[in-house]
């Protein structure tokens, strides 16, 4: 049976809530270490979400250029705000980082399927901006001491909300500057996955090379690993077929609809 087909075997825990479009006010922005890392605080939407789900953001001030909205993980949602953690990498993220408080953003969400979070121990593997979807998860987890996190980053730690997650967690951060650092990090990733595999669920998010390493060890150790992928998206709702990833069964499935979180053993990276 194919878990990606509509009506197929889909884990109910991760099934998307019915998404909607809302126009949300910007409450404020906070820069982290530099203007290229920004926490964007929006009015909280009415819907609930599961960590790993994402939103498409398009400020109302955008005319027709840039054209597409931009996808971002939901970093955290409270009664006061929804928070998005953004790294400026191009024009769209630059414009978002400069949004004035009081201006409005078109927000479509919650989109896609988030992480399935079982009750037992969790190992979180985050690379760079891959930390974004985990912040709320960790802060809201009833037993943070059950969570271990390994965080790899190429830029200074001050840019990322690493310290902000609960102190009760087992947290480890590794800074990669050289090629050697990257190799070491890959090794450590392998060790942690191997050691943790029998104990619980592993959740990973980060850039593609990082996910490939994670997937490699996940398959080798037969660990239960969920990975969140980032693909180029136009519509965010399954319509354009731009964001597809290939499954083991050679099917092309929309990551905005059936992902961004996939079981590591179901897709080809």
């Amino acid at each position: 049976m194919n878990r990606f087909k509509d009506g197929g075997q889909v884990d109910k825990n991760t099934l998307s809530n019915k998404p909607e479009c809302s126009s949300l006010k910007v409450l404020g922005t906070a820069y982290a270490g530099s203007g290229d890392f920004v926490h964007l605080y929006l009015e909280p939407p009415l819907w609930e979400f599961s960590p790993g789900q994402f939103v498409m953001l398009r400020p109302e001030s955008w005319g027709l250029d840039p054209l597409w909205p931009r996808p971002f993980s939901i970093c955290e949602k409270t009664a006061e705000y929804m928070r998005i953690f953004i790294q400026v990498v191009g024009r769209g993220t630059r414009l978002l980082s400069l949004c004035d408080p009081g201006s409005t953003i078109n927000v479509t969400g919650p989109l896609g399927r988030g992480f399935r979070v079982p009750e037992g121990p969790l190992l979180i593997l985050a690379g760079g901006m891959g930390i974004a979807p985990f912040l709320g998860l960790c802060k809201n987890h009833p037993y943070p001491q059950k969570i271990s996190m390994l965080f790899g980053h190429r830029l200074a730690l001050k840019h990322y909300p690493f310290e902000e997650s609960p102190g009760e967690m087992h947290k480890e951060s590794m800074h990669q500057v050289s090629e050697d650092d990257l190799k070491t990090f890959a090794q450590v990733l392998g060790e942690r996955i191997r050691d943790f595999a029998p104990k619980g669920e592993i959740l990973a998010c980060g850039p593609m090379p990082f996910l490939k390493v994670v997937q490699k060890y996940a398959l080798a150790c037969k660990a239960s690993v969920q990975i969140s992928v980032e693909t180029r998206m136009a519509c965010g709702v399954g319509a354009c077929l731009g964001c597809v990833v290939k499954t083991n069964e050679e099917e092309m499935v929309q990551s905005c609809l059936y992902g961004p979180v996939f079981a590591a053993d179901k897709i080809v990276l």
Binding site: P19, C21, D65, A234, C235, L241, C243
Partner: protein, 311 residues
């Protein structure tokens, strides 16, 4: 305010249809608005067998536009009829199937399959497809090949109205339009995407794995308007205009140059409730231009004979 349009065999409650490939199978948008509010739903191009499409990256953003090379990924005509159509509000809103094939007979087979489907209001034939027999030149780039597709589809489609969707990548769009009208098309829709490409100077790779893709979005609206105007001046059958529509006023622009109806494509990606809002805004835009029915505006462009373009 009268929004209805009669396309000769296809009546719409308003002139706004979704454009093929930008609205999935329709159902993707049902959380964001009531599908019954659309003039018609045109679904993703369907082929005889399911298709996997091109490798990624398949899309790239460009100034006020985008490129796509999806490669016609689709679930195949049979799966569509079985798994999607029953969930679409086809009794209230015409559902139009966009057809993709690589040979003339294949188009005929597709048309035949749909000829008896009560849930299908019309067929839209995408002739911007490479003709495998002719080394991949698109049917739509050659008047004869285009006419051959139309004749065959017409022979097989029974009473279903046949819309032929033209490619803009031609020297003379009018000659293609006349050819498809002559071959029995009931309606013409245009434009499909313009050929284009984008590259990354850092990786030295094309931004689309397929290298080439189709350009769509507001950037191409001026090209679309001109071609729609030219075709409307040339043919007698109803014309459906599209290309870069991103507001209710844009809809009226296409009506003004002669279109009977329009399709909204890339703008659906701005936000998924876009087309529903656009339809709601249409009556206001009509009042602003001082009309109570689209008929009053259609083809009403005040112009002297244009001279050939030369910058």
């Amino acid at each position: 305010m009268d929004l209805s349009v009669d396309l000769g065999g296809l009546c719409l409650k308003n002139p706004v249809m979704s454009a093929s490939g930008t609205f999935g199978y329709g159902l993707e948008f049902s959380s964001f608005g009531d599908l019954k509010e659309l003039g018609a739903i045109v679904v993703k191009g369907l082929s005889l067998k399911p298709k996997k499409g091109n490798p990624v990256p398949r899309i790239a953003e460009t100034p006020c536009g985008m490129l796509n090379a999806i490669g016609l990924q689709n679930i195949g005509i049979e799966n569509f009829l079985k798994d999607k159509l029953p969930f679409l509000p086809w009794k209230e809103t015409p559902v139009v199937v966009n057809l993709y094939a690589q040979s003339v007979p294949e188009f005929g087979v597709l048309a035949g399959i749909l000829s008896d489907e009560p849930g299908i209001a019309a067929l839209e034939v995408n002739i911007s497809c490479p003709n495998v027999r002719e080394g991949g030149v698109q049917f739509g780039q050659n008047a004869k090949a285009a006419a051959a597709v139309v004749s065959e589809a017409k022979r097989k489609c029974g009473v279903k109205p046949l819309i032929i969707k033209l490619s803009p990548n031609v020297t003379d769009i009018r000659s293609i339009a006349l050819a498809v009208q002559g071959a029995g098309a009931d309606m013409i829709s245009l434009i499909n995407t313009l050929g284009g490409m984008a590259v990354d100077v850092y990786t030295r790779k094309p931004r689309l794995a397929n290298v080439f893709g189709g350009l769509s979005g507001p950037a191409i609206k001026p090209v679309a308007l001109k071609m729609v105007y030219e075709v409307c001046s040339e043919v007698d059958i109803p014309v459906i205009g599209l290309g870069g529509i991103s507001s209710a006023e844009d809809v009226l622009e296409f009506i003004l140059v002669g279109a009977h109806a329009v399709q909204v494509g890339t703008a659906n990606f701005l936000r998924p409730d876009f087309i529903f809002d656009l339809i709601r805004e249409l009556p206001q835009a009509m009042s602003r231009t001082g009309i109570a029915s689209l008929e009053e505006l259609r083809g009403g462009l005040e112009t002297v004979e244009p001279s050939p373009v030369c910058a």
